[in-house]
Symmetry: C2
Subunit: 283 residues, 2 copies
């Protein structure tokens, strides 16, 4: 006394639409299939689900009750399925505006080219965070993040527009853009450590602080000064000969990019994306 789910699905559609023909269209079947399914259901359940007035049909009371429950049930299943399918067919990433603007968005096309099954969506801002299938790439304190979640430890260096003559560190008056995070809990960019490592005292450096790294990078490209920022963000611009670096040594920072609960992303698209982004950071 088993009833098939497909028969129920056919019945549900016919009940909702009030017509076998329309149900057949909805399910990409022939009206005959619907008719068979419904009558099969009726005989298995020993119940009439539709009244037949010649070529018109209407639900019986029992039919109505069954239709309501099955509609609810299938709706629930369908919406969950849809969500999973969305998660499976696209990677949604949210991150800082700097990483998005300097790395993810420029590389978005490459990713989609290499992974034609998936599309990739990048968003910034705090709004739709933790929506379960959106991958957040956070920028934060390496000592706070889980080791296994960390994608890259950030190093910092100074960069300038491509083609400018290298500054004379000791004599010139230098404008240097750096970043003061909006979030005061984050470690500052390691400028002091950088100066020390490169044997500079910084007395002739005029600091200008912005709250996003990429704003400083844009200023540097606009020849308005140099920028002290993380190397990940500038890699692409160096390769594209839009920025250059000088004879200075980069310094490590306490900052890192990480994905909270990285291991909990099991969709294939997410796995593919995470591998891909880790490769990018490693290069």
């Amino acid at each position: 006394m088993q009833v098939s789910l497909q028969a129920l699905k056919a019945f549900e559609s016919a009940a909702r639409q009030g017509s076998f023909k329309l149900a057949a269209e909805e399910l990409s079947l022939t009206p005959t299939a619907i008719s068979h399914h419904v009558s099969n259901l009726e005989s298995r359940l020993n119940v009439n689900l539709f009244h037949r007035h010649g070529r018109r049909i209407s639900l019986t009371g029992t039919g109505k009750r069954l239709a309501e429950a099955t509609s609810d049930g299938f709706r629930k299943i369908d919406s969950a399925l849809e969500e999973v399918m969305k998660a499976g067919s696209a990677v949604r990433v949210t991150t800082t505006s700097s990483l998005a603007a300097m790395v993810l968005i420029p590389a978005q096309h490459e990713f989609e080219q290499a992974n034609p099954d998936f599309s990739m969506e990048v968003s910034t801002g705090e709004s739709v965070d933790s929506q379960s299938h959106i991958i957040p790439i956070r920028f934060g304190d390496a000592s706070v993040a889980e080791d296994s979640d960390i994608i890259s430890y950030e190093s910092f260096n100074v960069f300038g527009a491509y083609g400018m003559k290298p500054p004379s560190w000791s004599n010139d008056s230098i404008t240097l853009f750096t970043t003061e995070w909006k979030n005061r809990l984050l470690p500052d960019p390691p400028l002091a450590a950088w100066l020390e490592k490169n044997g500079l005292d910084g007395s002739n450096i005029k600091l200008k602080k912005l709250d996003q790294e990429f704003l400083g990078i844009q200023q540097a490209m606009a020849q308005n000064g140099l920028v002290f920022c993380s190397t990940t963000l500038t890699k692409r611009l160096l390769e594209a000969n839009l920025l250059q670096q000088f004879e200075t040594e980069p310094v490590k920072s306490d900052l890192c990019y990480y994905v909270p609960n990285k291991d909990s992303y099991e969709t294939r698209s997410a796995a593919r994306f995470l591998n891909w982004i880790e490769d990018i950071f490693k290069q």
Copy 2:
């Protein structure tokens, strides 16, 4: 990009039970079938639903979410289905204790014999009325019930134990059991009309009132007197030579048996039962 409902059902069971083997048992399939279904689902959705630790499995986050929704959905559908199946496989009737005791229960076996597909359940009392698939046969005022709902208009007559000598209506002192309904809105048994129709004045009749007709019938069978009651209840006892009637004429009453919203019972078992009970009343 269609996923089959059976695959979802297999996944749901595996997720709930935490094992392909158990899911296979639950669905009367082989573990292989479950494995195929799940991996088919995973590749269609581009998502891993289970972690595989060698021979042990556990749900991924996505799997958990999908499992919850599908479980809910299928639960809903299953319970509706179960209710419909119950309604389809059995007739549940509730009615007065008199009709149940004198007519339905004695005939129950005949019905099941003639309709081996269905079982029949009889209950009395007001408790589990209107439970949607329970058919209530009410005893009431014919002017209040819908015409199309009425199964039979009741006639009344006097009956005595089989084998007793017919009473001498004018001389003997006669004990007559009759009924005073608990529900005071019901028309009284038409005793006055019966006396008139049979040319009796009733002066030598000692009335004893009980609140159920079948109680009076039992008294009559126990030779404790005669009973004035509806003819439907006594038909079977007359045939079985347990009761007899005399040279008196029956009278019509304002009482009837009816099934509220008779036309709304569309299960095959209910239709079969209603036809059957109408036949019984007609005979």
